[in-house]
Symmetry: C2
Subunit: 276 residues, 2 copies
């Protein structure tokens, strides 16, 4: 496979995030995307382990695929956060990902100091800014749903992510708008308008209930839940965002199905959101 | 048992919410509270079914117990919401509960219209205001954690609850501050200060992980999780709140234990929060 595949009509902004098809090995995912006329993928660092970042870059380039984002840096409460995040920035640069998604991590063990934790996250991001600028990779702060505040991400709203991002140059720090995490927020429409060129990554996943134990793997493919996807597309577009629209879903039942089938449904959900 | 029991030192503001000891029948709960020097309880409508509201009122009065709140009205998307909420107001008046907690309900089946749902909730509360004023019972809007937004409560933040409450007289509509639901909110301290005399009910429950499937029954007794309870006590006190401090926990493991034992731990958590 060489050369750039012309996308099927209307897929110009679609990107498959590899977490949606977690058990699809990278070479198969790449072939499947080419087959479906998909030209953009969001990747995770796990995807880069087997081929190595350089090998992954060749694989993607040869197939004409571009990388929209790399997940993830962050987890700033772990002891080796600085070195690990610098490696993540390098990996993003190597595969040509313009955005590195940051999931901040939650409270340190035994802590009840949420404000202090949030301050330390901001400081940590500030320390990474020079590395990000040097590498030409933007740090994309992702607010996660408040149900993850204690154990996964102390950044809980888009407004809060923007308060952090705006301390730094727009070329260095942006934010992620993931419908799954922010759909409930009465302030989200105002914050999306405020975000404007800080929107580094836009992801679709749907809210479905009941939530499973641990709540991490409860996301639905776009269109299967109660989120008004089309309204989010209109909102980010109105804010001036013209970048990719990634589908990123975590769900055991989705993961158990063939990658190509899931990709087709992700495309279908994307098309419905874009048409709405 | 007749006459008012003098509370043990420092328990003047403590209230046991009966959901914490779900399987303790009301007569046993009443006796257990008297035994422990507890003089205030928050009740649920289920507690009133066996004795009837008038019978429950007698039982409580004879034991010298006062009722801090009744849970719950709300669920405004169900067909009979108006009649059911009027009955709830009557029941609250009968047992002497000054506050009726409202859990609004989530999206109607198949709906993705969160804004519209929130507007209808506000309208429904407005329709109940005359009944509440006539009965001398305040409607207490409870914001629930955003993980319940779709299926249980579309009111997701304290700020949003206050936006609704402030449309009506302070004697008619207040808000609930439940640490479990609002602890993650970066704006909560400002909103508590704003709430002032709208604070109709203050409840303690702790955030513990991992969350169980369905996420309803994942709350910890105060002190067992990561919420800074003492900071919440200081915040509501600084806002001018002088009312009861209820412990309200939902957890299968807590429910499986003897009521008196759970009550003792609830008191212990309350004391730690008040001392902090």
């Amino acid at each position: 496979m060489t050369g750039r595949v012309v996308p099927a009509g209307g897929l110009e902004r679609f990107a498959l995030n590899s977490a949606t098809t977690k058990h699809w090995p990278l070479p198969d995912l790449v072939a499947g995307c080419v087959e479906a006329g998909v030209t953009q993928v969001g990747l995770w660092r796990e995807d880069l382990v087997a081929p190595g970042p350089t090998g992954a870059a060749s694989l993607l380039r040869d197939a004409g695929l571009t990388v929209t984002s790399l997940c993830r840096g962050g987890f700033f409460t772990t002891p080796d956060w600085y070195d690990d995040n610098r490696r993540a920035i390098e990996e993003a640069a190597t595969i040509g990902a313009p955005e590195l998604v940051l999931v901040s991590g939650g409270l340190p063990p035994g802590s009840r100091d949420l404000d202090g934790t949030r301050d330390r996250i901001t400081e940590a991001i500030g320390r990474l800014v020079p590395d990000a600028l040097a590498a030409g990779v933007r740090l994309a702060i992702e607010p996660l749903h408040p149900m993850f505040a204690s154990d996964r991400c102390a950044v809980s709203t888009l407004g809060q992510a923007l308060d952090m991002a705006e301390l730094f140059p727009v070329a260095a720090v942006g934010v992620v708008v993931d419908t799954y995490h922010v759909w409930w927020d009465p302030d989200v429409w105002r914050q999306i308008a405020r975000a404007a060129d800080r929107i580094a990554c836009f992801q679709l996943a749907d809210w479905i209930t009941p939530l499973p134990a641990g709540v991490l793997l409860g996301r639905g493919l776009p269109g299967t839940g109660c989120v008004d996807m089309a309204r989010f597309v209109r909102a980010v577009d109105a804010a001036g965002y013209t970048g990719p629209v990634e589908v990123e879903v975590f769900h055991e039942e989705v993961w158990a199905r063939p990658g190509a089938e899931v990709l087709a449904e992700a495309v279908e959900g994307y098309r419905a959101a874009m048409a709405g």
